[in-house]
Symmetry: C2
Subunit: 362 residues, 2 copies
């Protein structure tokens, strides 16, 4: 991974924002910038180089993972250690401006930092500089996302084999997760959603001990973390013979999904992609059953910028990786969602998820 390039580009942006340094506290941002994956850290990105503050538990790990920053092992909170370091550095008579990530630092911690710095540095809420950089993935990142996405194909095959009336949702999820772990994933990227029968109408229907009924939809929404990067895929299968109405619902969601995929290209706004899906469902009188947004970026985190939602003005750019996942949910009755991961290319997009989207009947 190009940590050196990322840090150097960030340093320019820090300067353009009239900041002397940026105190990075969001752990995925730290991972992105210097490779460190521990659970306690603060990264100070400054003109004269970067310093990673962590604690004694991560001495060995920091040495192995971090290449482009100096490592300081703190005996206290890494963030407080960073503040003390800053307070000790002051040379000129004017206070330096230190950017903080306001959405990734607690209010209590900001107060503590301010009291350690006692006016020797001014804390300023910085824009989401690292999150913005992370929106556009480089080739190495896209490769990792591809690995994670491709592993999902075999997990879905396992789900199709396991899904039978009477088997619990949890048993299906357990089999998928077991396979994922044996394949070497760090973990699932979110709690596996396995929602059968009437539960398929619950958007976030985590696998439960409910047995799969003899007939109805089963929404399978799952993802893994492999080599640090997330995948996310939803397929909806049908147990037993689907009614004409069920087939039509499925087709409508599939068409909406394909319309959104077709809309993805550089220069289009995230909101326009969302509209493309919504338009199809509106024609089918299903718009009110599509109760969430069309998709989200993914990478080191399962939910990243951009959000593909109504009114979002963020323009798509080559290298952005997003999910496209419209759905329709009729409370108490049923639900369908179909989700792929796509990467924006110079002329449109490439769908990373295998195209196994015809309605599977088990």
């Amino acid at each position: 991974m190009d940590h050196a390039g990322r840090l150097s580009r960030l340093r320019s942006e820090v300067e353009e924002n009239n900041l002397d340094s940026l105190l990075v506290t969001h752990l995925p941002n730290i991972h992105y910038l210097c490779g460190f994956t521990g659970s306690a850290a603060a990264l100070l990105v400054a003109d004269r180089g970067s310093i990673l503050f962590t604690d004694g538990r991560y001495r060995t790990q920091a040495k192995e993972e971090v290449r482009n920053a100096r490592v300081v092992i703190a005996r206290k909170s890494p963030l407080v250690a960073a503040a003390e370091w800053l307070a000790a550095q002051r040379r000129s008579s004017t206070a330096v401006s230190v950017g903080i990530e306001p959405e990734s630092i607690t209010a209590g911690m900001r107060d503590r930092l301010a009291s350690v710095l006692k006016g020797k540095a001014r804390l300023r809420s910085a824009p989401l500089l690292v999150e913005r950089a992370r929106m556009v993935k480089d080739a190495a990142e896209i490769q990792r996302i591809r690995w994670a996405v491709e592993l999902g194909a075999s997990l879905f095959r396992t789900a199709c084999k396991k899904i039978r009336p009477g088997v619990t949702e949890l048993e299906v999820a357990a089999a998928m997760e077991y396979e994922a772990r044996c394949a070497g994933v760090e973990g699932m990227s979110f709690p596996t959603i396995l929602a059968a029968g009437a539960r398929s109408a619950i958007v976030h229907g985590r696998a439960s001990s409910t047995p799969i009924p003899r007939r109805g939809f089963v929404v399978c929404d799952f993802g893994v973390i492999l080599a640090g990067y997330c995948s996310d895929r939803t397929r909806t299968v049908h147990v037993g013979r689907p009614s004409q109405e069920a087939r039509e619902l499925y087709q409508a969601v599939l068409e909406a999904q394909q319309a959104a995929i077709s809309a993805v290209r550089p220069g289009v706004t995230a909101g326009e992609v969302d509209s493309a899906a919504r338009r199809v469902l509106r024609r089918r009188k299903l718009a009110r059953y599509f109760t969430h947004s069309t998709g989200h970026g993914l990478g080191l985190e399962i939910h990243e910028a951009p959000r593909l939602a109504a009114g979002q003005s963020q323009k798509l750019e080559p290298g952005m990786v997003v999910t496209i996942e419209p759905g329709a949910y009729v409370p108490g009755k049923w639900g369908v969602r179909i989700e792929d991961v796509v990467v924006v290319t110079s002329s449109g997009c490439e769908v990373l998820t295998p195209a196994d989207k015809e309605l599977v009947i088990v």
Copy 2:
């Protein structure tokens, strides 16, 4: 669960702290107070009753889970909706005092709240009222922790069966996690630690694709979430015949662990329990290899108050549930950790974890 009692006790404390209301943002605190388990919420605890703010995804779930608070479905961030509600409520001419949880709200969100409230309410950092209440578990909570802890016994048996030279750490963890899922757990309470051979010296050695060597320690540290409550257990087994030195290391850690357990009783400070373990290891010249604290509270979260660490003055009380987990780690060579969950009783403590602590040799 006694949500009504918890909310009513909290309301008294809010008043004692000269606050008109408390805006609870830490999700486990919200779960504790009103039963809601969704991922987006703010709970306003006020004199005239409590209000849970969440979003449209959780309409059905909130209705099912929440009994002692009114539910408001927000079209925006639940926290911003709560602030707007507060701003609209103001009746008297003096600004009301609203407590916030400074360690569970981002600096950016506090700024947004302040700007929504525009002086109509004063935000004040509240003490950790809910966390303090959560330290002492009631009988229903202890029962749930007991279930979660007891499930660990069979997972450890699975580990002992699976651990063989050449099998990867991940394969062992996968088998344990599969069994846990089939038994109905919501998830593991933290990434399973399976650290074999020289890796056993890494305190946070998450299961990796490293094969288990022919000889050496394997640290297994794992926990589940069952009915909302966490368990946590560490056992260290030895593959192949242990040397005299290995046996002595194991015995020393076991003695330290037993000394700490013996020290647990009401009125003793958390720091004294930590000292009890450390004293044993110091006598064996192993103190410098014990690089973490002796334990932590657990419940709805895997790490809660109190911390059993050097200098901690928190006194133990009946109903507190803590881990006791000393260890010794010689970098590059090996490590041992033994961990139980204990509940403080009126005269001492009860060890919830089955007493399978003799060195298992596989």
